[in-house]
Point group: C2
Chain length 223, copies 2
Amino acid sequence: MALGARVPGSVVPGSVVPGSVVPGSVVPGSVQERLVAAAVHLFAEKGFDSTSVQEIVERAAVTKGAMYHYFRSKDDLLYEIYHGLISQQLADLDRILGAGGTPGEVIRAVIVDLVETTTERLAEAAVFAREMHKLSAEPMAALKAQRRRYHEVFRDLVARGQADGAFASVASADTVTLIVFGIVNQLPRWYQPDGPKSPRQLADEIADFVLAGLAVPASYPAS
Amino acid sequence: MALGARVPGSVVPGSVVPGSVVPGSVVPGSVQERLVAAAVHLFAEKGFDSTSVQEIVERAAVTKGAMYHYFRSKDDLLYEIYHGLISQQLADLDRILGAGGTPGEVIRAVIVDLVETTTERLAEAAVFAREMHKLSAEPMAALKAQRRRYHEVFRDLVARGQADGAFASVASADTVTLIVFGIVNQLPRWYQPDGPKSPRQLADEIADFVLAGLAVPASYPAS
DNA sequence: CTCCTCATACCGACCGGTCGGTACGGACCG
DNA sequence: CGGTCCGTACCGACCGGTCGGTATGAGGAG
């Protein structure tokens, strides 16, 4: 697996803002970023356990000492990966909710965003889906709280549409929510970035299907 | 991790039929079965890599020597787990296809079966979904061939319904297939056996939702 | 019935290697 | 000089797999 040219001089000598290392607010190309990027790639390819710290630091072109300067442990690296992805999705969610609309419109926007962010950051999503359970209790709780919020917002959207009569109730709002996140979380398993379908096309197909599943049969009178 | 009493005498001294050890056709309570059961439990709980062979043999109340007598490697154990589950699902598929029916009826039966077998064998399914990629090339190819067959049958069912005009084509047959298997494969992540919904109820909800997603809007004239 | 032979089933100590993490020293900067 | 940043050398734990050996029972020979 060729790594390409690795000129030590080309590595900007991390003149990162010293002091508190705030995760997520990191100079591009910095040691931290390179480490996270290398970890994402390797975890996605071979899994968390089968990737050694040595491989990560080699791919990031730094040494172990550097890595353990910025991260407390290998698990810490994993947490950064999750945190980056879910934080973006939550920010997107707030933006979409802020824009307003009918439950149907909002749900479509949410699904499209989930599919697009997932396909954009496929490696992160793959790692997230596959290795989430490796986290220890504390970071796991933080992640689950974020997830939970996302789920609750979505479920309430469905429930609101059902209460309006805009959506059918063949499946409960909870089940629909779990179905939708099941679809999205499974995406990294089969989505091919170089396939014929653009992320946007795929997102629309999935949103169409879900909204069709929620549609009230037209023969119904507005009971 | 207390193992409880482990009386050597209580272990039936595997008077298994000597000669060919055919995997899958194994005396209940035999050493092989106990090993697979222990492995399923531990892999589901802590993941493949984080489970040591020592832990497996302790849980099965046998020794390492016994394990390596029956299985070539730790991976071999993993393969047995997959093989058992997918073989059952393929057998069910054949039974369902044999019974005949419209694409809608068959699809419903298939989804119900998938959900029921998955919830019945939740630990196996969880391991399958999470650790499949750990297999080496050869067994992986065998598994993928079985999976592929299942997918193709399902996709053709959808495509046939769409060609008939019985199903809408908002999402392509391929996408619908991937969506459905996405839902099913994600089941072990959130399904609670002790929750309020029976497997059958859940299966019906999911099947209803999928078939609603495939339904032709009633306002359509039969083009 | 008895003895010998041999295959199967299993035991458990052990090994080579790997891995996450640490100790410590030095370079560079303010 | 003191803190940040990072390199190097190394440690101790653990793990998958091996291997020499034993126990048991079936089956043939005499």
